[in-house]
Symmetry: C2
């Protein structure tokens, strides 16, 4: 909504005074030449946030939408029936919200299925009873031969250690057992420091001549739930690979520490299928002044198949939908078009995101902002943005207003999210919503990512913060500047 | 630990540069005359926090202590056997941590017990089957007569509304049904805006001539768990009073909205006993330079009797103990004495806190700081302090260092916590640890305040932040100034 002249002036007074600390509060390197008036149009007039918060917190809808998604499409890995059901749900939900230009944008997606057999059993030469450990196939793993694989365990904590084993890894089951580092303040960082074992372990084990690989689950929780996730698959260059629960990993490590030489029997019947047709789901609230300019907000609709994918990324999907519902319900008309997108195939291919980029390549410069929520539905902490300088300061000024709702920083990052990554490659200003991380990896990619693990208010606070950010950016008098394109990555 | 001269200089360089934003980041009105050198001694030398964080996050002990407390003394309302067991546990734990001057400081506490009968049944004149609703006695409620109370429900949302009823409240069951306001960003505020119904509802109902009172539970969660809590009890000036679950409250409200006139039968056998002897539990790490000066840290050991009191306030107790363990384990010798206190009777009398004040009144000026944790064991958000100006800035500078662990602000408040309140009345600088609030009132004072509702890492991050704050304050070259005494409150 345009600022009425009298409001605009008041708004400027409000904003210019605290400008110096608006910038510094959020630890931003704002150039001294930043002139106060340029921030005048950076936030909607005062009172707008209060109205939005009242609707968001009195009549929250994100959790109810999430419950519906989890019930309608609990298992929605790309190519599955669940994914198809989720697409239908997304379209129907957007129509029910009264969005415009609701459509399915096609993309072809990889199709891998877990099958029905995933078993890892400790076998003993000494006649002790076989002992089954909790594992799940990593997404993309090839199956074992029909009669399984039997091999002795060899444990490593790094690829260097594996290489150092040389021929001693040949014919073995390589057990990657480097835990996430609990000393890292953010568990997203801790995850980033350990997940190479999951993504590259299979190929590294294959290269070393091993028969299979076992990867410690990416969580600090000590329990018996294995956590799946994508591994890089190349035909004939990977071995059958599973994630093992952290308790299972501790069990193996204990046996090895006692000098035993545990052997395991692994049976997996997961497999790859032909690529399958699927869709991103898209809807809009048209801008009243610059309808051709797009503020994009989204989460990814696909999810791992061990759970209903409530946090990852049902939460992001319903938060993006709730952004639209809130603005629609309030009857707000943004200056630019708000577009919601439910991406397909973030988990194992990113074909929805790359497909969107390719489909819209000629109009990519009309994308003035893209916000992603894909770190769980926990209490808000901040936003990451690929913008810098004065543009980052403009976002930070919005973040500052959201401080009572939990937003404590807006920081720069060159990697704000997987699904907006392809847009970042083309210079689109992108941002990621960052919630509290302590509980996320307890449930991430496991059977524990249930509806019950999401807290309705935490989820809704995130949606509220996202809605205010998106609406504010859609209202900017001058759009954010293009960003330095990220290097193209392999998808 | 004293700063070595070369470190002191480096530390000053580090601190003086960002001084302006250290102050503003945390929204503090720092006087322009604040001179940078005065902040030199405000934080331990660089690297200290990293060492503390490594021990805290690699070898966390807070959750294990909490599990033990919940197992040993699950129900520990003042005067109960559970409270006595908790005192013994606290003393034993402090001794096992190698603390000095471990002792029990006696206080007399109120003794109220829930009994075994608490029943609220909807009775129907029309012959419909009786319907039992989930209620629990409020702490301090008198019992009903042996044959119970039967009365018609009259619903109000405020004391003004009750007064307006005049004689129409006489002989009735007054149902206080004003929910917590979900629009308040912090649920601590929302709680503060509704809890008068619980604390004063019974007396107000008695004054209006009602027979009993029913108070909607203090939570936004819609479920069937009633939440207890203290009510102000005066003999012959209160009526039997229960909290009703939010679903039960909705049930009553629905009946009333249909024009029905629901009647209830209430039976309670809770009762008051003579005051009982109990204790605060205290232990120390003696200061090496100013052992007579005290930095106090604590939580309260008593808890409501519907659960194990994991968040309220087992969490605060074990965080305070973990502060001591961390510093002891690292072999750090603070300049001043660190004293841990597990307060008794926060929930229904505050006798531990007022007793401590009275016992130590002559040495109260030697208390240079008192930190309380009593808002649950969730992820850290900030600290509140009763200091102002430059002293608040010194605390904020420490808080700024804790930003990676979740501390986002250090703000001024004149009411930082119940147990430090009596010290505040005597001018002691006090602070409260503030965690994320979204989930707290789901469990607060109900059967849901279980060990499982506490997240080990969130709990430990709080202990880490508290430990760094306490150690830093114990190291100050100049202690914090005395604060304006809070007005004495009735305890």
């Amino acid at each position: 909504m345009l600022l009425a002249p009298h409001l605009r002036e008041r708004s400027m007074q409000f904003l210019t005074a605290p400008l110096s600390w608006l910038c510094t509060v959020l630890l931003l390197p704002i150039p001294a030449t930043q002139s106060p008036p340029s921030l005048a149009a950076q936030v909607p007039e005062r009172g707008k946030l209060e109205v939005l918060a009242k609707e968001a917190l009195e009549n929250p809808r994100a959790y109810a939408m999430l419950a519906e998604l989890c019930a309608v499409a609990p298992k929605r890995l790309s190519g599955s029936k669940g994914a198809a059901a989720a697409v239908q749900w997304g379209q129907k939900t957007m129509l029910s919200l009264g969005l415009e230009n609701v459509r399915l944008e096609p993309c072809m997606v990889p199709h891998w299925e877990r099958g029905t057999l995933e078993s890892l059993v400790l076998v003993s030469a000494s006649g002790a009873a076989p002992e089954r450990l909790s594992v799940c196939s990593l997404g993309g793993s090839p199956p074992t031969p029909a009669d399984g694989i039997e091999a002795e365990i060899v444990m490593v904590k790094s690829f260097e250690e594996l290489e150092g084993l040389g021929e001693r890894a040949r014919g073995k089951a390589v057990f990657f057992n480097r835990p996430m580092d609990p000393v890292r303040p953010s568990l997203f960082q801790a995850y980033g420091g350990a997940v190479d074992q999951r993504s590259r372990g299979s190929a590294a084990a294959a290269k070393a001549g091993a028969l299979c690989a076992i990867v410690r689950s990416m969580t600090l929780a000590l329990d018996d739930h294995p956590h799946t996730g994508a591994m890089r698959y190349e035909k004939d260059a990977c071995v059958p690979t599973v994630a093992i629960s952290t308790l299972g990993a501790e069990r193996l490590a204990t046996l090895l520490s006692r000098g035993e030489t545990p052997r395991v029997k692994l049976d997996l019947d997961c497999r790859w299928y032909e690529d399958a047709p699927s869709f991103n789901v898209v809807g809009e609230i048209l801008g009243h002044e610059k309808p051709e300019e797009i503020v994009l907000v989204g989460g990814h609709l696909d999810a791992w198949d061990l759970s209903v994918g409530a946090h990852d990324d049902g939460a992001g999907c319903v938060q993006a939908l709730e952004v639209m519902r809130l603005i629609k319900t309030l009857g707000w008309k943004p200056r630019r078009t708000l577009r919601v997108i439910l991406w397909m195939n973030e988990e194992n291919g990113l074909r929805g995101a790359t497909g969107y980029r390719d489909t819209h390549r000629e109009k990519i410069d009309r994308h003035v902002f893209a916000l992603e929520s894909d770190r769980g539905g926990f209490a808000p902490r901040g936003f990451e943005s690929n913008s810098t300088g004065a543009d980052l300061a403009r976002l930070a000024a919005i973040g500052e207003q959201l401080r009572p709702y939990g937003i404590q920083y807006v920081s720069h990052s060159t990697g704000v999210g997987a699904d907006v990554g392809p847009l970042h490659e083309l210079g689109v200003p992108c941002a990621g919503f960052i919630p509290e991380s302590a509980r996320y990896f307890d449930v991430h990619h496991s059977a524990l990512d249930t509806l019950e693990s999401v807290h309705p208010r935490e989820l809704q606070l995130g949606a509220l913060c996202m809605a205010y950010l998106c609406f504010s950016v859609a209202e900017f008098a001058e759009p954010l500047g293009r960003v330095t394109p990220a290097p193209a990555t392999q998808h």
